[in-house]
């Protein structure tokens, strides 16, 4: 008779979770909000009590604001406490003040008063507030809005109450709000709680980069800023907080942008253009950039964010990159558009939208390198190679992408399409000299390579995710927990290259000359299917002891490549086919990974005190990897089949002490297999590459890596002076580690081929710590970061095995001071050290120290100034110490009524010291050298910021 006993309370509980998160009061509601200015004359105190005497109760969490009567300037504000009281300190004395108390549903109360110089206090006693009749609730607009108010569970800051410069942007206003911290990395926290998403009108604003909204939207277009708990993604473990910028009714659409042109000494130029338009349904951007000052970007949104109205200051990433090697000319144009199809309701923003992006980048890069490589040879001492390399690279890339996202009540659909078309050409001229120990051990080579490449790429993907839920109409479970996705891509490449090589040695018999042409056409097709059926036992059983997910990943890729290589014989004028390098290859790879993930969450919580969570999971996964090659050249006709068991496991523990701190610990074990590629197994060896011949190893086995990692995270959840940090350590070893075996001959020619070795071990250690202090308008952020990596493995040089040990250490620390967003100063230090030793032969060391300082200062509507100085010190074991300093200064002036005009003078690399030091090590050698870089230039830039918010006036 009992046909359906499945319904338990859990189903109901799951449901509460969905609908009742809204009642969760954000801790903000109970925080006393106050912001007061200190001054020697501000010594007065005012107190009082707010009551609804008709209904005989006190008014809690009511906004009380104090203004100067004469100027209307907001002096101070706070929310009344649980007893309806308010107490203001540090108020100006002996001038007329106006107090205004406001609460939703009540008429505002105003009083004027003056704090006497002698008593320094004023008691406003009980102020009575009257409830508005229902019909009047919606139309009450009287006087300035309160700076802050609680509307249900939402904390609202009304922009109109904050008097800022007319050209201030949202960021300037946020810095004024009590409890709000804008971190240097763009993260916003409110009372220690990280803002999960910043929305404008309930939607993302030009992508996920907060900066676009913060630095472009004028404060005057904003009606209010709301802080509330995210209801759209209820997270049972941790609730998330969102910030939403509500625009004024007549500013729901608008455009903003920047047009700028800069001209500098030594032929430098830097021109930018950006125009963005938004409306409730659409967001469209167009950008363009043209420069030869090492400013590059990868996509449209980066260029939009880099051209923001308030883009100056040290947070501006769009400075000349002095570390970039060579001379670069960069031209780019882009378009991005988002259309929102949704009929938004408050609980579910961003439910149905299409994003389209197009980006075109054209550029060239010229690099001139002088490098010196030292290779130790066991008995013969060293081999020294000196190379002069000059390369030119031109590229033209176009990328188009379209993404569609739709959120259903219990599911999610994402679809995307990508298209890319890239062409490039390069010319590389290299001359190298190699000198061994004996006079006869000398060789010289000249190598010239040029080529063109064209690639066309298409990719598409579709992903569907669904969640199990309880239908409360019928009280049954519906839908399944699953993720399904399919991705495909097609990549066509056509390449044409030529190479001229002259190799001359002291021993003439070793001389070699090549003039070779290469034509390569390849076509790659990839298919990838991923499925995950989650909590499958949950279908049969309400609350299974273990959560069981069945996961399958299947990929198939096929590559068809034709190489036609021909040589120009010394005597003739005709190219003859090279039978060793001309080939047709069909390469097919199947990679199938089935697995079962067993997991368990154990929660130990005491209401209002703590919540401790254990997460345990074991993922038993197998990997079937099949590589099949059919080639015209017999050597590449090979097939490999592998099956490996690649288990992983994780234990996580988090301890969340309410209102105090949160600690998490993770211990993770992971295995990965690296399969030998065809290029490692049986490459076609191009003998024109005289100094470096890369041979394959047909017996190469896959490398199997075990990793064990531990991570500890700590963060305070207090409103004041947030602190966060982490510490992590990883140790691991690789069986059959793939490394190089190399042979050098006396003429400096080397032959490499990959080998498997045992005994590879690696470890890393890292952590960071970040803390902010906010005192009134002053904010300090201190942060430090460190990472240490170590690896040891055997390698082979000229037939002898050596143990190689490498380590690197990165350490940075900095201090940032911000005052009201007007002044930002930063000092910091970074250290990078590398050490490689091959036991018994050589040890190499390379160290870079950098000390940097920044100051930027901007007066609204007038002058701004910023300077950055980097002191660099390089210490390397085979060259002299190198010291250089880069000093940049920008001075600018904003003019016109809306500060739309800008003139800027920049001096870059004022000391004319910029050097780009090449320094790299591998297990056999150390290479040092220099490369041409951008150096000192002065530039004058003119910019105009077209801005208009509120294109069509809304009829009220």
């Amino acid at each position: 008779m009992l046909t359906d006993m499945t319904t338990e309370y859990e189903t109901c509980l799951g449901w509460y979770l969905k609908i009742f998160t809204f009642t969760l009061a954000i801790a903000l509601g109970t925080v006393k909000v106050s912001a007061q200015k200190k001054d020697s004359v501000n010594v007065g105190t005012a107190k009082g009590l707010l009551r609804d005497s008709t209904h005989n109760y006190v008014m809690q969490a009511t906004t009380v604001s104090i203004y100067k009567v004469e100027t209307g300037e907001l002096v101070s504000y706070q929310l009344s406490d649980n007893f309806g009281r308010f107490l203001f300190r540090q108020l100006p004395v002996d001038i007329p003040l106006r107090i205004i108390a406001t609460n939703i549903g009540y008429g505002p109360v105003k009083r004027e008063f003056r704090i006497s110089q002698s008593t320094k206090t004023f008691d406003l006693k009980a102020l009575n507030m009257d409830r508005l009749t229902v019909s009047l609730k919606e139309v009450v607009v009287s006087g300035a809005p309160p700076p802050v108010q609680m509307r249900g569970d939402t904390l609202e800051f009304n922009a109109g109450a904050f008097k800022l410069d007319t050209n201030a942007v949202v960021e300037d206003m946020l810095r004024r709000l009590p409890g709000v911290t804008i971190w240097n990395d763009g993260v916003i926290t409110v009372n220690g709680k990280k803002i999960n998403r910043l929305l404008v009108e309930g939607k993302e604003f030009f992508g996920a980069d907060n900066k676009i909204a913060l630095q472009n939207l004028p404060k005057n277009a904003v009606k209010k800023i709301q802080v509330y708990q995210d209801k759209s993604e209820p997270d049972p473990i941790e609730t998330k907080t969102n910030m939403n910028i509500v625009l004024k009714k007549d500013k729901k659409d608008g455009y903003f942008g920047k047009v700028s042109g800069g001209i500098g000494t030594t032929g430098r130029y830097d021109d930018n253009g950006m125009l963005s338009y938004y409306s409730p349904k659409n967001q469209v951007s167009m950008v363009g950039a043209l420069n030869n000052v090492n400013k590059t970007a990868d996509n449209t949104n980066t260029l939009v964010s880099l051209n923001s109205f308030k883009g100056e200051g040290i947070s501006n990433d769009y400075h000349t990159d002095f570390t970039k090697p060579g001379a670069t000319v960069f031209k780019a144009a882009g378009f991005s558009g988002i259309h929102d199809f949704s009929h938004r309701d408050d609980n579910k923003p961003d439910t149905n939208r299409l994003k389209v992006n197009y980006f075109l980048a054209v550029g060239n890069n010229t690099v001139d390198q002088n490098i010196h490589t030292q290779i130790p040879l066991e008995d013969n001492g060293y081999l020294n190679q000196t190379t002069v390399n000059s390369s030119k690279f031109n590229y033209n890339g176009q990328a188009f992408s379209a993404r569609y996202d739709k959120v259903f009540d219990h599911g999610l659909l994402n679809a995307s399409y990508d298209f890319q078309h890239n062409t490039s050409s390069m010319l590389n001229v290299r001359s190298s000299t190699s000198i061994g120990n004996l006079a006869t051990d000398q060789s010289y080579s000249y190598d010239e390579q040029g080529g063109n490449k064209a690639t066309i790429f298409h990719a598409g993907s579709i992903k569907f995710t669904s969640h199990r839920y309880t239908d409360f109409g019928t009280n049954r479970n519906r839908s399944v927990e699953m993720e399904l996705s399919y991705l495909f891509s097609v990549n066509n490449t056509n390449e044409e290259n030529r190479r001229i090589t002259d190799f001359n040695a002291a021993d003439y018999s070793q001389d070699k000359h090549f003039n070779r042409r290469y034509l390569t056409a390849s076509n790659n097709i990839d298919h990838l299917i991923i499925s995950s059926f989650n909590n499958i036992l949950g279908v049969l059983q309400k609350d299974p002891y273990l959560r069981t997910d069945i996961k399958n990943t299947l990929s198939y890729s096929e590559r068809n490549q034709t190489d036609a290589v021909s040589d120009l014989l010394t005597a003739g004028s005709q190219y003859l086919p090279n039978a060793n390098l001309s080939n047709h290859l069909n390469n097919r790879i199947i990679n199938y990974r089935p697995g079962i993930n067993l997991s368990k969450v154990i929660i130990n919580a005491l209401a209002n005190r703590f919540r401790k969570t254990w997460n345990l999971s074991i993922f038993t996964e197998g990997q079937l990897f099949r590589q099949q090659n059919t080639a015209a050249l017999q050597i590449q006709n090979l097939e490999r089949n592998y099956f490996y068991f690649i288990p992983s496991a994780m234990i996580g523990y988090s301890n969340n002490q309410l209102g105090k701190f949160r600690k998490t610990y993770f211990l993770k074990y992971n295995t990965t297999v690296t399969y030998p590629t065809l290029q490692q197994l049986a490459p076609l060896v191009d003998d024109a590459n005289v100094y470096f011949l890369n041979y394959g190893n047909i017996k190469l086995r896959p490398a199997y890596m075990h990793d064990l990692s531990f991570k500890y995270e700590y963060s305070t959840v207090e409103a004041k002076n947030p602190l966060q940090g982490d510490f992590n350590v990883t140790v691991g070893q690789t069986n059959d580690f793939i490394t190089d075996s190399s042979y050098y001959d006396a003429l400096g020619r080397s032959v490499y081929y990959p080998i498997n070795v045992s005994g590879e071990k690696h470890a890393s250690l890292g952590g960071y710590l970040q803390k902010a202090f906010k005192y009134k308008d002053h904010q300090f952020q201190v942060s430090g970061k460190s990472r240490f990596n170590y690896a040891q493995y055997p390698s082979n040089l000229n037939g002898i095995n050596y143990d190689t040990k490498t380590n690197s250490w990165l350490l940075t620390a900095d201090l940032i001071y911000t005052y009201k967003g007007l002044l930002t100063a930063q000092v910091g230090e970074s250290f990078l050290g590398n050490n490689t030793s091959r036991i018994g032969i050589a040890q190499y060391k390379y160290v870079n120290w950098k000390t940097y300082s920044n100051i930027s200062f901007a007066l609204p509507k007038s002058v701004f100034f910023s300077t950055r100085m980097d002191f660099n010190k390089n210490i390397s074991s085979n060259s002299n110490n190198i010291y250089y300093t880069i000093w940049n200064i920008d001075v600018g002036y904003r003019f016109l009524k809306g500060a739309n005009g800008e003139i800027k003078l920049s001096g870059l690399d004022l000391f004319h010291q910029n050097r780009n030091v090449i320094n790299y090590m591998n297990n056999n050698s150390i290479t040092t050298g220099t490369v041409n870089v951008l150096q000192q230039y002065f530039m004058v830039t003119l910019a105009y910021y077209p801005r208009k918010f509120g294109l069509s006036k809304v009829e009220h």
């Binding site: 359906d4 609908i19 009642t23 209904h55 005989n56 649980n82 109409g473 919580a605 005190r609």
Partner: protein, 420 residues
Amino acid sequence: MQLNIMIRKITIISCFWGLFVIPVFAQQVIKTDTSHFSTIRIDPANSAGGNVSDIFEKVNYIPLETTPESLFGSINQLEVLNNYYVILDYNTNAILIFNLNGKFHAKIKGRSNAHIYKFLINRWTNQIVYTADNYQNMTYCDLDGKVIKTEKDIDPKGTPIIYLNSYFISPDQLISYDQYRDLDTLSKYYQPYSRSLLRFGKTVHSIGMPYTKAETKIDVVSSGIGPLTTFGNDTVFFFAKPYDYTLYTVTPHAIKLTYKFVFPQQYALPSNFVSNPVYDLKRIAYIQKNKDLIFSLNNCYQVGNNLLFEASTYGSSQEDNLVYNLKSGNLIAYKHILPDEASWFLPIYDKVSSNFDNVGLAPCDGTFVYTSLSSLCLFKANEENKDKNVKLPVGLAIYFTKGSTKDNPVILQLKLKDSL
């Protein structure tokens, strides 16, 4: 915290037994007497506040002993039985028994993965009765936490005997509420008039408020304590009919309409909300959308001349827990009552945690009403009161000196003034 989120404010009664057949041939239908009732007009927006000393005759905070054995999360259900406080805590899945001065007495530990969501008390046998398997078996314990027996709770017809909203009205008899259900009326087992909102007897001998085929698509959400509530007399109950602003008095042999509330239009559900089939299986969705509408009356008690109830809405409101004085007609909003000397300036409901919104004022023993506050909330308030030089009673003084925010919750016992 998760449980807080989950249980917050509202408990849905949704034991979907899928019983298509409950023949009622032998059962008598108790008629509902609607001949005499009072109509009460309530405008929550016009409720008053006041000070604790104006509203309450007596206020008593009872800290509960905190030891490793007695440590628990929050008071998810509280009953007073034979001079003991019996407390259900979801966090530790345990029923804890404290004596009236807050000293720990005993504990009934639930099994892991078998959650106890509610318990019953039997005043005639002084027993605590609970289920951890969705009312298939009931476990009977004494006040020392000892298990007396475990009994199968399914009658020969497959119906649970005791269920979610059941109360003992004698050593072995019950009154139960059963909610509207989505029934398959096309099933050959379906019997018209087989369902009712109220049932009487351990073997059901009578039913009350039977409902028809037309009422089988009503999805119900219920909030706080109810719809059946008890307040001092063990055989008299208030019954607040779902989606209706009526309060019935239910006794073992009678159902009588007692109060009919009228709310201002902007807070009231459409008058045909239950009967109009356009709302079928969409009623929950409707009240979720219209957050200001009062969808249920719960935690209904009568103490002397005062009628206490919560008017639940999906929105948040300061005027949801109300006290209506039947004599003067005055309406007081509990959340607007201001702490004063009478409560040592300590709050009378928990603003820090969500427990008050989940449970509300409960229970009521005819003299006192109870609620509980987290230590986090009380310590915070005490800290804010530092400037007031409050003279605390000994118990509270010790609690604030020796305890911490991590202590067990504190029971608040309140006695309303009769003339308000």
